[in-house]
């Protein structure tokens, strides 16, 4: 349900809520999934993104997001230059994903420390985004709530151990989506939470046995900012 600041708002860099603001949000989400500053990105644009990205500044918005910029950051315009200065190398290519939303992007992002993430996301209109796949795991992250994304070994008791830590931090889970590729292989859970997770919680989760990685996606609330 939209509120009044969704109607007179958000404050954003133009020209398009789907092709610019949504793209910046996807870029920022990719950075948060990597849990740090990226050094290299390979970005595949599908459909309308591929056809109109230059005129809409979709490329600049995606890069800006990956450089941690929000949708109202005027530096989005110069993000290609800023990426160059930061030693962040980005390549774009034309991608095809079957039955995908017209505004779909696939991103491979990596840093110097050996971390990497692969994701598929769509900008579905009005600046709304959906992260649909992370490292081969189907998911559905909307950015409406802060989200923990945890990779772990598919084994009994893992979800119990993870949710136990979240409960101990007195945090309520609003939505949870578990996905695995093969039985007993790598699994992933995306947990939308009420409120915020602190560094203490992500450390505790990372320290759990058979947890491979923990990413915390703290989404900017565009509604209430002046």
């Amino acid at each position: 349900m939209p509120d009044l600041f969704d109607i007179v708002g958000p404050v954003m860099i133009g020209p398009s809520s789907s092709h610019t603001a949504g793209a910046a949000r996807i870029g920022k989400a990719a950075r948060m999934l990597l849990s740090g500053a990226p050094k290299k990105a390979s970005v595949g644009l599908c459909g309308s993104f591929q056809k109109t990205y230059q005129g809409h500044g979709t490329d600049k918005a995606l890069i800006g997001g990956m450089l941690n910029m929000d949708i109202d950051d005027p530096r989005l315009r110069d993000s290609r230059e800023l990426a160059g200065e930061a030693g962040f190398q980005v390549d774009f290519y034309s991608a095809t994903v079957r039955n995908a939303h017209p505004n779909t992007v696939v991103i491979d992002l990596s840093d110097d420390a050996g971390r990497s993430v692969n994701l598929r996301a769509a900008s579905v209109g009005g600046g709304e985004i959906r992260i649909q796949e992370i490292d081969g795991h189907e998911t559905k992250i909307t950015g409406h709530a802060n989200t923990l994304v945890i990779h772990y070994l598919d084994k009994y008791g893992m979800i119990a151990n993870i949710t136990h830590e979240i409960a101990a931090a007195r945090i309520n889970i609003a939505a949870m989506l578990v996905s695995r590729t093969v039985l007993g292989g790598g699994a992933m859970v995306a947990l939308e939470i009420d409120g915020e997770a602190d560094a203490g919680l992500t450390e505790k989760l990372s320290a759990l046995e058979n947890v491979y990685s923990v990413a915390y996606l703290k989404f900017t609330n565009d509604r209430q900012e002046g």
Binding site: P2, F5, M12, P15, G55
Partner: protein, 274 residues
Amino acid sequence: MDTIHALLEAGKRYGSISKAAAAWQAKEAQASEASVTQTMRGRLIVMKESLKEGLNPDLRSVSGRVGGNAAKLFTAADTELYGITAKAGAYALAIAENNACMGKIVAAPTAGSCGILPGVLIAAQESLGLPDDALVDAMFLAAAVGRVIALQATVSGAEGGCQAECGSAAAMAAAAYVHLMNGTDEQAIGACGFVLMNSMGLVCDPVDGLVEIPCVYRNAAGAAQALCAAQMALAGLTCPLDVDCLIAAMKDVGTALPPSLRETGEGGCAACGG
């Protein structure tokens, strides 16, 4: 607050739709009315900065097709001949051009239609000598109207055509202007109705799929459309059709539009450009 009828009822209880809207937003955001008013004031400041940037004659979009025309229109603006419409149209174009050129804007209700509401508001402020707070008050009314349209129909060009974007923006601006002129809530809603009636069926047909042509010029036209509707309402003309029904009809018309006329860059103006 989900229908026009409900807005009018809430307006009676709170003294005006704009007061009811501010109270509703405060409750929704679990914040004080002072805080949501401050947020809205912040939006107005961005709108004014965006106007300044948009009047730069050297502004150009990435494609090079848009930018700098608002400066031309503003320089030639003849308020004696065209009244407030001269400025409102130039201002709406300026902000829409700034959007096309990756400037900072306030979506109202969308990025593609972002010039209309501020164009009318700021032109009205200058010609009537109004304080910012009067504009902020009118923005709550405009937002409440836009929210009803978003809930009951759509404000997305890809779903409903340009009637849903520039049409909704002009309906919001018309209501805001009536409010600034001390018109009643009924008159403000009547002005919305006139806009919705007169923009029914407007298609979304951007050349090459970019928010440039005809979008920026439709913002200028939307400002004029809003002021025309507001004048009719302020003169005592009542909208002959129910506004909730017009919103539902706009949705149906949007659904009936072929995909080529819903932001795909194929039909309409898009067929003549590129």
